[in-house]
Symmetry: C2
Subunit: 353 residues, 2 copies
């Protein structure tokens, strides 16, 4: 794990995305989002993915100049299309439109189809929270999870996030997928040749296994808490897939397996404006009060501190802003690969330890 | 488990609630909701609770004639108060107002404070679904769960439900609380003097235990999937507690411990109208398609059938409609207790087997 200068890293990422054909402003939105995700400590969804996006562009599955289009809109809703372009800049612009509407609405919903992998779900929820709103963000994905009773994957791991602002506390940020563990943990165990607990994945026949390699041999992830993770995955499919008029289930294509085909991923965003429910200031103070109460409870044996949802990520972010972004080796390797794909070698020096 | 005639059971429950001082229409709404919940097989939230409601009324913690009040409203929102009355009739009326608004809105939100235990969360979500909408329903509760890292209970098990209509299929109905298992399972294990798996609850010191009795001795429930259940519980507290201007966390009082005090429970309901997103018929067909796809996957070893969320409950409901409502002994015992509280003995004959 080595640290890199935030500004330099952003600039480098922006440049490789521009070289891949993405217009300057969209390249910057994408770069800022990925670097911010690494700053929050979610390396699985940060610059690690840069080469994936560029591979899809070069394979023809992503239109680098696809821009957000408004399909329909009304007071409390927006139906949007990413027009086959990058998921991150489309979702950033969608969130900004949502926030604009939300200033005069108690609640607003935006759906987005013809999109692609949109990075960390929490990015868009937190953007709403930074604007004083409660934000929700969700996306479907290609099938990864075997639902309760199934031997094979049938639904995506369908990330879901929400965020809300506090006053003394920055607020709440919660971002999860619907599998027991994120795919990154399986990848790491596989790379290190380690066993995993049974209950995380099943093999191609739907049998329990402790061998992470099975995920690459037709295996499936299991939903968290059995039917609960299944039901939340269906909720996301309903809003981000069906309601958004995007692909659903196996209609959503994997960027690993078919980088040359549009994935037609769908997203759904919601914003609630606390001003309509007793005032923003009152809301923020009650959020503070809730977080104070939750984190000051008597600790479990062996536990030093209780965190509220998002606290660890915000701590990471503040630390990265001050001391540079820590990037694990796989992230640096993928950045190098991304640089090679567009002929701009990665030469950023790590910061002195 | 004996079966009872649906109409007779509804009539009996309506009458005991009326005798407890609840106006006729509200008594009927409450009775219908409880019996419907038993019909769906969720006996933990059906007539089993009748005596609890009456005890709270008689102790002064619930105003039997508290009626739903509109605090504020706009196009896409309603702020409502149950005025210290029964949670079920207030929530039924709130849902009907929500549905009315939702006919001309892409999305509508209703919050409800000064309420009490509202029965099964899924009742209100399914009522929206029966009207062709996507419905969401959530409520906070008095603290029951020790959040990740805590030794003691700090947040409710905060039920959450959503529902959406299909065409050939009735649709999706998903209704969960945020603990690993519902309190009913612990109660049953305790009554039968059986051990439970560690990981369901902790004792008063936050230590893992397999003894269900500890839940009655200061123990706490654990959230499902650790920080995931924690984060979803906070989401419900945010919307049903803070946004609704209801009590939050320990401000919400237990109807078991303090039946004589207003609980100030809060709820939040949402409705999304698919007509604004490509049409209701198209939406229903896509829901059917999703459910067909999920349930026709290759089965896991030892599994005969894959169910979609709500399918088991709908099957129970259809069966109960045809053959009568099956009530387990504790439900009948509680009905008898409720009848004694208001001087109307329970004399309904069970249906012939």
């Amino acid at each position: 794990m080595q640290r890199y200068d935030v500004t330099q890293l952003r600039r480098y990422c922006t440049e490789i995305f521009q070289r891949a054909g993405i217009p300057a402003e969209d390249a910057e939105l994408t770069s800022d989002a990925l670097v911010l995700t690494d700053m929050r400590g979610i390396n699985s969804h940060g610059v690690l993915r840069a080469a994936h996006y560029i591979t899809c562009i070069q394979a023809g599955g992503l239109r680098p100049d696809g821009r957000l289009e408004v399909t329909a809109e009304g007071g409390a809703f927006l139906r949007l299309s990413a027009a086959g372009g990058m998921g991150i800049p489309a979702s950033m612009r969608a969130t900004d439109l949502l926030i604009e509407h939300a200033h005069t609405q108690a609640i607003t919903i935006a759906t987005l189809n013809h999109s692609d992998h949109y990075g960390a779900a929490g990015l868009y929820a937190q953007r709403c929270s930074d604007a004083g709103l409660i934000g929700f963000s969700m996306s479907n994905t290609c099938p990864m999870i075997a639902v309760t009773g199934a031997a094979v994957k049938g639904i995506g791991n369908n990330p879901f996030a929400y965020a809300a602002p506090g006053r003394r506390h920055r607020g709440i940020l919660f971002d999860v997928c619907m599998s027991v563990v994120a795919s990154g943990k399986i990848q790491i165990a596989a790379a290190e040749n380690k066993k995993i607990p049974t209950g995380w994945i099943v093999d191609r026949d739907g049998q329990p296994t402790d061998d992470p390699q099975h995920i690459y041999q037709g295996g499936s992830f299991l939903p968290f808490a059995n039917h609960k993770g299944y039901g939340f995955a269906v909720m996301v499919e309903l809003l981000a897939g069906i309601l958004a008029n995007a692909g659903i289930l196996s209609e959503v294509r994997s960027w690993n397996k078919t980088p040359g085909r549009e994935s037609n991923t769908g997203h759904c965003f919601l914003a609630i404006n606390p001003a309509f429910f007793g005032g923003e200031e009152h809301f923020r103070q009650r959020v503070d009060q809730m977080l104070d109460s939750l984190t000051s409870a008597r600790k479990a044996p062996g536990c030093d501190r209780i965190f509220y949802p998002g606290e660890i990520e915000f701590n990471h972010e503040a630390d990265a802003l001050e001391h540079g972004v820590p990037l694990p080796t796989p992230s640096v390797d993928e950045l190098k690969k991304a640089g090679e794909l567009v002929g701009l070698p990665f030469t950023l020096p790590p910061l002195p330890a």
